[in-house]
Every structure is written in structure tokens, then in C-alpha cells.
């Protein structure tokens, strides 16, 4: 990052290649929309480069990067929430269904994997139904595997609040997933 901060394009490309997968995964899971997340992830790195002088040396780069990514994803979620007032419920459900399919594992193409793909799509869609503040905490912890302290820095909230949000998000998720997972077991 130190070299990228000096404007070294090669060092910056190296940074992009190293972190792009984590940023794409984070933003896609927060939005549950793969197509839109590509554009936002690119914007994340553009902002990293443009604001490289704001990066404090010694700070964890991944934390700074995830802060930018989470903020941009948050803006997008809020923008969609406002826009949702003008779209019909049918359209919304259609979008949710499409985006769930996009977020399934692309390697799972065989017929036997269809159920797994469907379940992944459902889990992704259910995560997307969680309120934004709980969703961010859950994705950062349970999908990205960040430490509680890092999540507190990314979301700019106290450590205790991080824990309670994650706990709450997991219980919400359990409540929503339980009937579906039970059905899966029966079949």
C-alpha cells in the first residue's frame, strides 16, 4: 500500500488483484446482486486510489478497504430502498429470484447440485432480507471472517454493539431459514 500511496500503478494493480475477490464477495453478499456489485467494487478501488493519501500508515489496509466497500454497499442498499417505493412487488420478487440464481455456485452445474444451488440462492436471499445494520455485521463476520475488533472499525461502532448485532442477525437468520432447512431435510 505504501508504494500504491506514492502513485505506483503497478503496486496498485497488485493490491487490486490481491483484494478484489474479498471485496466482490463482500459487496455481492451485502447486495445479493452480482451484476451491480461489479460496478460498486470497481468504484471501491477507484476511491482507494483517489484517496490513497488519507490512508494512515500502520493501519490495517483490509479494514480501510472494507470500510469503503461497506459504505458504498450501504449507500446502494439505501438507494434501492428509496427506489423500491416506485417498483411493484412482482418486480421485486423477480429481481430477488434472478439475483439469487446469480449468486449460486457457478461450479455446481450438474443436475444433482441443483438443490444445493437452490439452497444457496435461498440463503443469499434471506441474508438480503435482514436489516442493513445486522446484515453488514453478519456478512463481515460469518462470510468474510473478520475479527470483532476489525468489524467494529469497519462499521464504526463499539465492540459490544458488534457482538449484539451479530447475535441478533444470526437469530433472525435462523428464524427465517429454519422452515426451509427442515423441508430440505425431509426431502
Amino acid at each position: 500500500m505504501a508504494e500504491a500511496a506514492e502513485g505506483n500503478e503497478r503496486a496498485f494493480t497488485e493490491l487490486v488483484n490481491r483484494y478484489k475477490s474479498r471485496v466482490v464477495n463482500l459487496v455481492s453478499r451485502l447486495l445479493n446482486d452480482r451484476e451491480a456489485s461489479d460496478d460498486i467494487c470497481q468504484e471501491v478501488f477507484v476511491r482507494v486510489f483517489l484517496h490513497r493519501k488519507n490512508y494512515r500508515r500502520g493501519a490495517k489496509f483490509s479494514t480501510w478497504l472494507f470500510t469503503i466497500a461497506a459504505n458504498l454497499a450501504k449507500n446502494e442498499i439505501r438507494r434501492r430502498k428509496r427506489r423500491r417505493n416506485w417498483t411493484s412487488l412482482d418486480e421485486m420478487q423477480e429481481t430477488l429470484h434472478d439475483s439469487s440464481l446469480q449468486l449460486m455456485d457457478p461450479r455446481a452445474n450438474r443436475e444433482g447440485d441443483v438443490e444445493v444451488r437452490q439452497l444457496q440462492g435461498v440463503v443469499g436471499a434471506v441474508i438480503a432480507t435482514l436489516p442493513e445494520r445486522y446484515r453488514s455485521a453478519l456478512v463481515l463476520r460469518d462470510i468474510e471472517g473478520l475479527a470483532y475488533e476489525d468489524i467494529a472499525q469497519v462499521l464504526r461502532i463499539p465492540g459490544g454493539t458488534v457482538r449484539s448485532r451479530i447475535n441478533r442477525a444470526r437469530l433472525m437468520l435462523k428464524k427465517k431459514l429454519e422452515p426451509m432447512l427442515r423441508r430440505e431435510e425431509l426431502t
Partner: protein
Amino acid sequence: MIRCSRVESLFSACWEDELSVAEREALEAHFGACPACRGSYDGFVRGMEAVQALPRLEAEPGFAETVLARVRAAERAPAVRRALRRSAPAWIGGWEWGWRPALAAATLAVVVGVGAYSIRNSGQAPSGPQLARSTPGTAPVAGAPGLKVLAARPDEPAAESAGRIAAVPPTAAPGSAAAVARGLAATPRRDATGATRPRANALAAGPNGALAARLGDEAAVVPDSLFDHAYDLEFALDPVHLRRVPGEQKLRPARPVPAAEDGRKASITF
């Protein structure tokens, strides 16, 4: 023995293996005696496993190249655009929202323009001489609610000002700024010696054109000016919604006014 209502709050810590030995033992004892809570925890574990089994999503091929192209384009972009991007508050996102202040400024300009236009044209409307009831020195502007003529020549006594307003010709709309302005303009101007002389330009704008001819060159230079330029007219734009707080005499803004904006006046010169 832990109660069922408390068990759920321990699920996360149990899943993360963060429970103390005592807590774990108590939870296991509870699970042994309560199949419902045991089943609930199993559901929790299944949900967590499903989340963690989600596949990792990879970036599209050519991602880094696209980012570099966007970075180069952003660096080539005008400094203004970047400044907008930087100044945009986090909650409104990126630079694309930077047009909002510009829109607000444009709206303000249109409002002021329409107000000024209505002031110019309000003299055509027939009406009675009702301005005598207006408070001296303050009159609402027709067609522009919230726009008020605050004061003219602060060195003048209020009584004189009131008399002037009462003398507005009936051609002006009641309560209109044009009426006030004409009232001001119709007042004889005092010169340095205290002697008075007629206000030529304002009279020239009146319906009686013959009068203007008698007033000499000054009227010819500014034949249709509504305002006497010797006076400073102050307009206060007050778009803040005020509400009455119970138990208080003063009206208070319905929402907080930024410190930089509070009490500021906009002066408009014609």
C-alpha cells in the same frame, strides 16, 4: 439451571466456542432436560453452516484493468468533479449527488426571479389603498410568500415612513412590494440642505406620463424604474418553517438551522 428465555442469547457464543466452562455446562444441562431448546440450537447450527457453505464469488476477468481505466479517467476528470466527489457526505454517496446544491441554487434563483417579475408587474392590478394598515417598514411581497421588504432608509422616522406607504397610488396591488416601492419613490427626496425635491423616476413610471415630462432629465434617463436607487431595499428570504413551541412566545425553526445560515440576510439590488 438456565431458563429457556436466556438460552437463545448464548447460541452465538456457543457456536463461536466463547462460553466459559460454567456456562457451557449449564447450557448442556439445559439441553439435556429441554428438547425444544436443543432442537432450536440444532436449527441455529444448520443455518450457520448454510451461511458458511456459501461459495466465494470471484471477480470478473479483466476487473483490475477496468479499475485502472476508471482510475485514469477519474484522474483526468476536472478538479471540480473530484472536489464534488470528496465533499459529498457519506450518506449521500458519490459525486453523482453533487448536482443537488446546484439545483438548490438554481431553484432559489428562479424563485427570486419570479418574485422580482411579480413585483414589477404587480403595479398593473387594480386595488384599493389598503397599505395604510400595513406595518411601517415591513410589507409582504405579492406573489412571493416569505419575501418581505424589511426596511428602507433606516435614518427615516417611522411616522414618515407610514405616511409614505399610505400615499401609495391605488394602481398598485395591496401589500405589494411595488406599492411600497412606489410609495417610497413618490416621497420627495431630501437633499443635503434638508430641502425636498420630487422623485422624478418613480413618477415617470406612473400612469401620468405628462407629469414625467415636467420633471426634467432625470425622469428621461430612467423612465420605467420602479425603485428609487437612493434607497436600499432589503429582502429577507426565509424558507425555514417555523412552529410555535408551547409555553414560548418566540417561534422556533421546525428543524435545526445551520449555524452558518442562521440570521443571514440576502440583499437584492435592482
